[in-house]
């Protein structure tokens, strides 16, 4: 790949600018769907864009007692982690911009970078709401991360590859949601945990700890975290659809499948009450991890017997 096409892929399409806009569009779709499910009108189509533009234009207040370098750098690292993850997944139904053996693991860890940075950002400040929020964010991360990883390894095992493009190619003629339904459910719920969507929004429960780890963030930093969230939403939806829902070989399949998943996510968000953090951890380690493990063992046994 020449330098110019690589730069375009990084800065404009499919990474960079376009994915930021798409992230905001998906965030809007999510908010609008939840609003309609709750019998509200919901935001106008440009609301996330307007929010982020406003935040980017505002002064960023750096509170006392924080490590200034970290405070400024963490949102940037979070967003760049999410944007880098985009390059390894087949967004918009196109082939991934970059690909190598084992990029599935790299992508999953790049996605965790955002959560990690959010937690560190909270722990970096002296704000008590932020500290509690940071503890919850990191606790929640340690609970869903393993089951989520196990759930994504299922398709990898079935395809016999750690490379997203190869798994997606295999998944195109094997609807793995039928073969591995438990893995699909764990992956979907894990995605909700990753995105801190209700009922897993204890880390930013506004009625308890205001805005959680991001309480002290304003202006640019907050906008970058929001944008990263939107990007992560797209990457997560793409991964789950590519691996479980018969691949995303063309743009139509991509939009249909990811939006369908989004509707399911929005429905779950509006159906369920918020879980306490201890309940979240209990849910993941008592059910999520065990189910993921069972699915995984069955797969290994199956592969062993057939092969």
């Amino acid at each position: 790949m020449s330098t110019i096409t690589a730069l375009i892929a990084l800065l404009f399409f499919p990474g960079g600018l376009v994915i930021l806009l798409a992230g905001m569009a998906y965030e809007w779709a999510d908010r609008k769907l939840v609003a309609r499910f709750q019998n509200r009108i919901g935001p106008r189509w440009f609301q996330p864009l307007a929010d982020n533009l406003k935040l980017l234009a505002k002064e960023e207040v750096i509170p006392q007692g924080v490590h200034r370098g970290l405070f400024v750098a963490l949102p940037v690292i979070a967003l760049s982690g999410a944007l880098t993850a985009v390059l390894y997944v087949p967004v918009f139904g196109l082939a991934p911009s970059f690909s190598f053996a084992g990029d599935l693991i790299v992508t999953i860890y790049l996605l965790s970078l955002l959560t990690m940075c959010t937690g560190l950002a909270g722990a970096n400040t002296l704000n008590r709401f932020s500290l509690v929020g940071a503890t919850r964010t990191l606790t929640q991360m340690f609970s869903y991360e393993a089951p989520f990883l196990l759930a994504l390894l299922g398709p990898a095992l079935a395809a016999g590859s750690w490379q997203i493009s190869e798994i997606a190619a295999y998944a195109e003629d094997h609807w793995l949601v039928l073969a591995q339904p438990i893995g699909f459910i764990v992956a979907l719920i894990g995605l909700m945990g990753k995105l801190e969507l209700p009922p897993f929004d204890a880390p930013e429960a506004e009625t308890e700890i205001v805005a959680g780890p991001l309480t002290e963030y304003s202006g640019r930093g907050l906008a970058l975290f929001h944008l990263g969230k939107g990007v992560e939403l797209i990457v997560g939806l793409t991964l789950v659809s590519a691996l479980y829902l018969g691949g995303v070989a063309n743009p139509i399949a991509f939009f249909v499948k990811t939006l369908l998943l989004l509707v399911v996510l929005a429905g779950l968000q509006s159906l369920l009450a918020r879980l306490r953090i201890d309940q979240t951890v209990g849910l993941w380690w008592r059910y999520g991890a065990i189910l993921g493990l069972v699915q995984f063992l069955v797969l290994i046994a199956w592969e062993g017997l057939v092969a």
């Binding site: 499910f37 709750q38 019998n39 509200r40 008590r128 709401f129 509690v132 503890t135 209700p198 009922p199 929004d201 204890a202 429960a205 506004e206 009625t207 308890e208 700890i209 205001v210 509006s270 159906l271 369920l272 009450a273 918020r274 879980l275 306490r276 953090i277 201890d278 309940q279």
Partner: protein, 389 residues
């Protein structure tokens, strides 16, 4: 560091609070080990204000003590003043007062369901209950012309009549509300995830409830049979009684169930009253000046017992008006039940008593031996500065 306490402050400004109050929770990880409450941020001096206005003006003033249960304040005040003056409102006026009071209870409880669900992060129930609450708000507007401060009462009667068309509108509205309420009862007693946030949370035993002197639905959820409408009937509650709704569990689930089940009682009583609306005048004459006397008047507000003490001195102004709103006795139960629960449960435990801060804020000075009783304006100002520092 291990010996230092980690205190989570909630308020005076916090997303969980719709009104200013200040709570401090000492936490060990996520578990609350101690709780304290500090009130008084929205003290408005209404009691004093009521003493410097005549009875007619004071009724207007006390109706503004609470934005949600405005009618019960006006009713309690009117009943007290009428008792002092030795007159009684005509039966039709009493029936209309009771209908408005029960409609107000419906709107207050539905508002509470929404707020409490929101505290648990269950925004869908919040949106649905507030949407349905519009029905009863419209009914109240249809009767009195106002959505919030209805001002249905005047001394000696009511301002507004209920005609045949309004009866039809109310009955139709109640039909819809009753169906929705059945749905809410189903949700609060069967939604598995929601029950994980309410069942066994904030348990207050009957002994504790009696020791703390809690009132209203909070007490009834702990098995204390306490309801002024039954214990000391006023208006037409003797002729059209409500049934006592009691739950034994004492947790948040019980508080949800008590309030939702009370709605059915309200629907029943309103229907009975509408079917047997007494004929007659809406008002009776009441003297302007009232001879020196004192009285109390008690009413079951949506949140519990509302208590008025009124003392007259022969002029057209009250010598003393003392109000005790139901939030005041209930507030202590928050501090007691909070300990040992998770931080995440705090907003719900707090919302569980249906607090109304601005209603209960008042200033009390305990006089110790040798201290002067009267304060100058400058001293009061200094006291206020120190208090809010």
């Amino acid at each position: 560091m291990a010996t230092e306490k980690f205190i989570i402050p909630i308020g005076p400004q916090h997303p969980a609070l719709k009104e200013p109050g200040h709570f401090e929770f000492d936490v060990d990880g996520e578990v609350v080990t101690a709780a304290s409450v500090r009130l008084g941020y929205v003290h408005r001096g209404i009691e004093k204000g009521a003493e410097t206005r005549n009875f007619v003006q004071a009724e207007y003033l006390v109706e503004r003590i609470c934005g949600i249960c405005s009618h019960v304040h006006a009713t309690a005040f009117c009943l007290g003043v009428e008792k002092l003056a030795g007159v009684e409102a005509p039966p039709r006026a009493q029936a209309i007062r009771q209908i408005v009071a029960e409609l107000e209870r419906i709107h207050s409880h539905m508002l509470w369901i929404g707020v409490a669900a929101h505290e648990a992060g269950f925004d869908t129930l919040f949106m649905y209950s507030w949407r349905d609450r519009e029905t009863v708000m419209n009914l109240l507007e249809g009767i009195t012309g106002n959505r919030v401060n209805y001002s249905a009462n005047v001394l000696g009667g009511v301002k507004c009549d209920i005609g045949p068309e309004q009866i039809d509108a109310i009955l139709a509205g109640l039909e819809f509300l009753e169906e929705r309420t059945r749905h809410y009862l189903d949700v609060v007693s069967n939604d598995a995830l929601f029950l994980r946030r309410t069942r066994g949370i904030g348990v207050m035993t009957r002994d504790e409830a009696e020791r703390l002197g809690v009132v209203g639905p909070t007490a009834r959820a702990s098995g204390v049979p306490r309801d002024i409408r039954i214990d000391a009937p006023y208006l037409l509650y003797k002729e059209f009684p409500v049934e006592l709704i009691v739950e034994e569990a004492g947790d948040l689930e019980a508080r949800f169930k008590v309030r939702v089940r009370e709605l059915f009682e309200s629907y029943r009583v309103i229907r009975a009253l509408l079917a047997n609306l007494p004929e007659g005048d809406l008002t009776t004459r009441i003297p302007r000046r009232i001879k020196p006397a004192e009285t109390i008047s008690r009413i079951e507000a949506p949140r519990g017992e509302l208590f008025y003490f009124i003392k007259s001195n022969g002029t057209d102004m009250a010598e003393r008006v003392k109000v005790r709103t139901p939030t005041l006795p209930n507030m202590a139960s928050v501090v007691v039940t909070a300990v040992g629960h998770q931080l995440a449960d705090m907003p719900m435990i707090l919302a569980g008593i249906d607090p109304c801060f601005s209603c209960n804020d008042r200033m009390t000075v305990v006089r110790r031996n040798g201290e002067r009783q009267s304060w100058t304006w400058e001293q009061l100002r200094q006291y206020g500065i120190e208090w809010y520092r």
